[in-house]
Structures are given as structure tokens and as C-alpha cells.
């Protein structure tokens, strides 16, 4: 496959794309189909919505129509789960084109995905799989991020994932890897507070060490979510309310990163919209408490 021929002419000359930092959007929520009607009929007090990109990478029908309607009323951010940015498989340009087409339609404030891989050798495991934090992996992911950013014509935002295993050949920490990736590739970071908490518990480090290792000027979004505690490890199920430990870590994240667009992410066991709005309001209140008027 001739990768260079798929890229815009200018991007091949320009090298890594530099872009303005995405704007502060306030306090948002992950859009789920269970809440479509209530959102469109009630205009709930939510500053913005994050949508799962793949849910709308379909030919047409109600999902896209609904997204158009919500986009007309609220700022929207696209969040993918299948970019597989760290995969060693060849880039999937069909997927990238569909993602680019959707971004053209939605005009999101930014496009994000995860620092992970989802499959190789033509298979897709539909999971956010971990990587070794090696120089080889870093060089590979930097080049992939640059390629994707050139193809999409925009800087992307990458999220730290919850992990359950660590590789014995890692040469750096996850936060060192993320920091270096962001600096070299020019991408922004989505700091998932729950994922930091989960990974820190699973691997036995202090989440505040992770937090203080991330460059404050690269973080443009926070995720807040719940998880399932198994005693010896935590599984990132996103099917519970945010727990108190994660709220505490959020307060620390606010102190370090300042005013950052924040959202509640619930993927399963979806409760009524009102319950999630209570959590959104708590992110707002906590930001105002920690940052004062600067939080608005």
C-alpha cells in the first residue's frame, strides 16, 4: 500500500502538525441512545456531549439524524474505540476515511481515541489492549499519530486506558510514554481519571505519581467513570457511578491541570439521564470549589 499517496500533498512536506489547543467546553456527558428523546425534548443543562465515533460510522438512518439534531444544539466531541493507534498492523485507511467523513459532517471540537491497539493480522478484538512502554513502541506510535493527524487534517487527542497487565520489557512508565508521545507527535491528551485510578491499583503505584508526571499543558479533557472492584484488581467496566476515591483524584487533577473540559462516561448499566446529570453537576461544583471562578 502506498501510504504517502493517501496523504494530503501539503502534509507530506510539513511534518508533524501543530495546532491550537482545543477550547474549554465545560462539563459534559457521553451521549447514549437511551437518552436521545429526553435530550432532544428537554435540552438538559449539559455543556457538551461526547459521542462514540463508531456508533455513527454507519450509512444513515436514525443514529446520524439524531446526532445531527443534537449537534445543532450542543458542542460535540468524537471519541473512537477502534483507531488502534498502537497496532503494528498496517493502517486501516478505510476506517480513517470513514472517521474523516464523520468528522466532516459533525464538525466536532476534537477527535479522540485511546493509546492502545485492538488487533493485528486482520483480526479485531474490540478491546483496548495494553502496550509495552519501550522506545520501539514509542517510535512506532509517534509515527502512527503523525500519519493519522496528517490524514485527518487535525491534531488528535489520546486517552490513557485502564490496564490489567504490564510487560516485563517496559523501559519507561506509562506517564513518561504519554508525555513523550504528546510532545513528539503534537497530539493532545485525554486524562481519564478513573483509568489512572484503576491502573494504579492494578500495578501498585500511586495515582498521584502518574498525575504529576503528565505535562499540564497537554491535557484537554478529563473522563470520569465508575469501575468494578474485584479485591485483587479493578476492572474498568464503566457501569457504576464514579466512586469517592476517583472524585478525590479528580480534585487533585483539577489542581494540577486547571480548567479542563470534563465529562461523565457511562457505557453500561445506563441509568436515567437525571442520575448522570447529578454527576455532571458534581464535576462542575468540584471544579468551582477547587479553581474558583476560573472553572467557568
Amino acid at each position: 500500500m502506498n501510504v504517502a499517496s493517501r496523504l494530503p500533498e501539503t502534509s507530506r512536506k510539513d511534518g508533524p502538525r501543530q495546532s491550537a489547543k482545543p477550547p474549554f467546553l465545560g462539563f459534559g456527558l457521553g451521549l447514549r441512545h437511551q437518552h436521545y428523546d429526553e435530550i432532544l425534548s428537554g435540552n438538559p443543562p449539559i455543556d457538551w456531549f461526547e459521542v462514540i465515533s463508531e456508533n455513527y460510522m454507519v450509512p444513515g438512518g436514525q443514529p446520524l439524524r439524531t446526532l445531527d439534531n443534537i449537534r445543532a444544539r450542543y458542542p460535540v466531541v468524537m471519541h473512537g474505540v477502534s483507531l488502534s493507534i498502537a497496532s503494528t498492523a498496517p493502517p486501516n485507511f478505510e476506517y480513517l476515511q470513514a472517521l474523516k467523513d464523520l468528522a466532516h459532517r459533525v464538525e466536532p471540537k476534537w477527535v479522540s481515541d485511546h493509546l492502545c491497539w485492538t488487533g493485528v493480522h486482520g483480526k479485531n478484538l474490540h478491546d483496548l489492549l495494553p502496550i509495552p512502554y519501550t522506545q520501539e513502541a514509542l517510535d512506532h506510535v509517534v509515527s502512527r499519530v503523525q500519519l493519522v493527524q496528517d490524514f485527518l487534517g487535525r491534531a488528535i487527542v489520546l486517552e490513557n486506558v485502564s490496564t490489567y497487565v504490564q510487560f516485563n520489557n517496559s523501559e519507561m512508565t506509562e506517564w513518561e510514554f504519554l508525555s513523550e508521545l504528546s510532545r513528539r507527535a503534537g497530539c493532545w491528551l485525554l486524562f481519564d481519571v478513573n483509568n489512572v485510578y484503576v491502573s494504579a491499583f492494578n500495578h501498585g503505584y500511586d495515582p498521584l505519581t502518574f498525575l504529576s508526571g503528565i505535562p499540564a499543558d497537554r491535557v484537554v479533557q478529563f473522563h470520569m467513570a465508575g469501575h468494578s472492584h474485584m479485591g485483587t484488581h479493578i476492572i474498568d467496566t464503566h457501569d457504576h457511578p464514579v466512586c469517592e476515591d476517583v472524585w478525590e483524584l479528580y480534585a487533585a487533577a483539577l489542581k494540577r491541570f486547571g480548567r479542563v473540559s470534563t465529562m461523565i462516561e457511562r457505557d453500561d448499566n445506563i441509568p436515567p439521564l437525571d442520575e448522570l446529570i447529578v454527576e455532571v453537576n458534581r464535576t462542575r461544583a468540584m471544579a468551582e470549589q477547587v479553581l474558583g471562578p476560573a472553572a467557568r
Binding site: E54, M57, V58, H121, H126, I131, P132, Q166, F167
Partner: protein
Amino acid sequence: MSDFARQQADFQRGILAADDSVLAEILDSPKEKRETLFGVYRYAYGSRLIEALRNDHELLHAYLGDEMFDEMGHAYVKARPSENPNMRWFSQGLPDFLRSCAPYSDHPVLADLAALEKALNDAFDGRDGAVLTLADVAAFEPEIWKDLTFTAHPTAARLDLVTNAPAIWRALKADETPPDAAMLDEPTRILVWRQDNTPLFRELPPDEAMMWDEAARGVPFGVLCSMLATYDDPDNAAARGAGYLHGWVTGGCLSGVST
């Protein structure tokens, strides 16, 4: 192959093929052994894909029950690993799998039920298209109606089912006890399409199904009526054709008309 690529291949094989060689490359955590931690990925793989199948095939799931559906789901996951980044398309091969793999192929109603649900799912988020109205058709002078050709709505699809799956689908949808599965002497001819946001289906009589199939190939209305005359009641073939056409237009099954 780079170390990174080899590690990913090992990791994937550990999930898909239960190969434990990847365990030599990962660490125990302070509180748990690596086998258990890697098991989180193994378990999540199957359960996530089966959940996707349950979402896409709600009524097949209701028909089979949790245990049988999940057993079938595991067999499908093993036989047809996902190759598309978008999980929306993972279940696309299920009707073919059920039709071709024992023991499911011994029960054709399963493949039929899956095919009907797949067709409805595909209509739900299928391509948008214009909807032809009666006024659009009436704009043509009656003397050129014989030359009219029609374009199906992009979501319209035909399928032939060999069992009473539509009756079972309707019962399950209404939360009623479904009838016993039965093979039919003649296939049921189904038309699936989307009306506004709602996917619909209906059974077609044999001559209407023939007319739809030929119309979708661009055969003009006059010829369609002549073909209908070969089925039954030749004197009323034109009226029957006009009636079928009226139903398609008012149902929103057509996108265009031209000469």
C-alpha cells in the same frame, strides 16, 4: 518482525487461541497472578462480542434463551473472528453461519430468524434516500405509465425464508409464546425497508415479489403488468400492478421514478 509486533501477535494468540506463551512477557501484579490478570482480557473478548450479538439479535436471543444463545455465540465468535473495526458489523455473518454449521443448520428457523433480524438492522441504519410520493407518480401522463421505471429505496431488501420465522418473530416481539417452528412448502417472500426511522417488513404474495424483483432490475411498468398476467387473472393484471405500486409508494419503499 519487530519485538513490538511479535508481542502483539503473542498477546492476540493468547486471547484468541488460549496460547499461554504471552504469560512469559507480562508481570504478576502486587496482589494478583498474571494468569488471572491476562484472563480479564480473555473473558472480555468473548463476553463483549456475545453482548454485541445479543444486542443485534434480541429476538433470536429470546427464542433460544441465555444458555443456548451464549453457546451459539461462543461457536460463532470462534468460527468467525471479527475483522471489522466497527463492532456494528460483527454479526453480519450470523445468518450464514447458522445456515451452514451444524448443529444449527439442522434447525433452519434459526438462520431465518437471524436473517430477518439482520435485514431489519441493516434497514435501520441503511443509507438515506428520497421517498417517492403518489404526486410524483401522478405527474406522469397515463399514456406513458407503461414506460415508467422505479428505483427502490436504498434500505429496501428482499429475502426468501423457508420457515415460519416471520410468525415466530411477531410472537416474540409481542412477548407471546411463539408457534412451533415449521418448514414451509413454498418460501415466504419478505420485503424489508425503513419508513422514516422505523425498519419494517411484510410478506409479499408470489406475484408481487416477482414484480418487485423485476422492478428493482429496471423493468418498466408495462412489462411488469404483462409479467403479472402470466401468474393469475390476466384481465386484472394492470389493476393488480397498479395496486402493488400504490402500496410501495405509500409505504415509502421507492425512491424514484423515471421514463
